[in-house]
């Protein structure tokens, strides 16, 4: 196991050098704490005018005109309808009389910042979406789609009750958790698709720059705003939906929502944004 991890770490090192030198130093051994510090330093050095908490607003922190538009948008945000649906769904009991609140610590209020977490029973990463569907199934309800509509509404409400709380992802002292983190990191830095882009190509190398008409968001804090109302979708979408579109936009083959790779990726990407406030639900162009 250790030697396999060492090989993985070495590949990341090789890839990391291209896109992202600061983290590369930390890649020889798996050191999430050092990764987190290096990752955040990279962004604060790249954008010295921004404070850490500004990064959660994605492209709106990168561009003054967009920022103005966004401030106006936030007065009347497009996710409001979804948020209300989510609140209603969350508080409506299941057929057996129980509700979502019974499945979560603190009745599900103000806990978004702790997801995804590593479940030591089945040795895998559990995201909020996954936990919600497990909750449904445990109470005899059919699972719902991971990408939009109801799931986005529910997570929008749960994120809303957690707004401002710092992202707080823990990596337990368990080799499987470290491996999941490391695999997520590798996924993030691995190039794929016809365009040969990694996640980092856009969101580490080029945030603030335009890709066609869009301003790219920084990877730091990118998940803190999930779920999002995206004008391009004219609707709400979850983290899974965003990962899938990212993959297909680089002309790669998207994975199934909540597949192990996406869960590990979310684990890694959330961990390196630890300390940044939850700002979801968000609105994006």
């Amino acid at each position: 196991m250790t030697s396999r991890l060492a090989i993985r770490a070495a590949t990341t090192l090789a890839l990391g050098v291209l896109a992202f030198t600061p983290a590369a130093r930390a890649a020889e051994t798996i050191d999430p704490v050092a990764d987190n510090a290096a990752f955040q330093k990279f962004f604060t050095d790249k954008f010295p005018k921004l404070q850490l908490k500004d990064f959660v607003n994605g492209p709106y922190s990168m561009n003054e005109d967009l920022h103005k538009q966004w401030e106006e948008k936030e007065e009347f945000p497009p996710y409001e309808f979804s948020l209300e649906d989510g609140k209603q769904m969350f508080t409506t009991p299941f057929k057996n009389g129980k509700s979502y609140a019974d499945c979560f610590p603190n009745q599900g209020i103000g806990i978004r910042q702790n997801y995804p977490y590593f479940d030591d029973k089945d040795g895998k990463v559990v995201t909020l979406e996954l936990a919600l569907n497990r909750c449904r199934e445990a109470n005899g309800e059919a699972p719902i789609s991971y990408v939009k509509d109801e799931m986005a509404a529910l997570t929008a409400y749960m994120a809303f009750t957690s707004r401002g709380k710092p992202m707080d992802i823990r990596i337990p002292n368990d080799p499987r958790a470290l491996a999941a983190y490391q695999m997520g990191k590798e996924y993030f830095y691995t190039r794929r698709g016809q365009l040969n882009f990694s996640c980092a190509t856009c969101h580490v190398q080029s945030p603030g720059q335009r890709i066609r008409a869009e301003v790219l968001a920084p990877a730091l804090g990118i998940l803190n705003a999930m779920p999002i109302y995206r004008s391009e979708w004219s609707g709400m979408g979850t983290t899974s939906r965003r990962f899938i579109t990212c993959n297909s936009q680089t002309r790669g083959v998207p994975l199934a929502p909540e597949s192990d790779e996406y869960r590990n990726l979310e684990y890694y990407l959330s961990y390196v944004s630890n300390g940044l406030p939850i700002s979801g639900p968000g609105a994006r162009p």
């Binding site: 009347f76 497009p78 409001e80 309808f81 209300e84 004219s234």
Partner: protein
């Protein structure tokens, strides 16, 4: 069902600024669904804002307006705590109305 209209109106001196967000599919009639069938047109045709029984903003809309449309305008003569009535009628005859107090 919750109202399909969200309104916020704020009086600032003589000018009242109004913002509204309406939940509506606004199907143009030109879009096909996943099975290749045309989605029939379904859009708001008339949107009215009334203050003090008089219309202050009337919009004749067509299929080119986006889904969940957002409107912002201002008018003269609104007073704080006055009531603003908003209503829409779509091409299927459906309608919704709400009122909001000017803040």
């Amino acid at each position: 069902m919750a109202s399909s209209i969200r309104v916020r109106a704020t009086a600032n001196g003589d000018i009242t600024e109004v913002q509204a967000l309406i939940q509506h599919p606004m199907d143009s009639g030109f879009v096909k669904d996943a099975q290749g069938n045309l989605i029939p047109p379904h859009f708001i045709q008339e949107l009215t804002f009334e203050y003090d029984g008089k219309p202050v903003f009337v919009a004749d809309w067509g299929p080119a307006v986006s889904k969940d449309p957002y409107v912002k305008f201002s008018f003269k003569g609104g007073k704080k705590d006055g009531e603003l009535k908003v209503s829409w009628v779509d091409n299927k005859g459906a309608t919704d109305t709400t009122t909001a107090k000017i803040q």
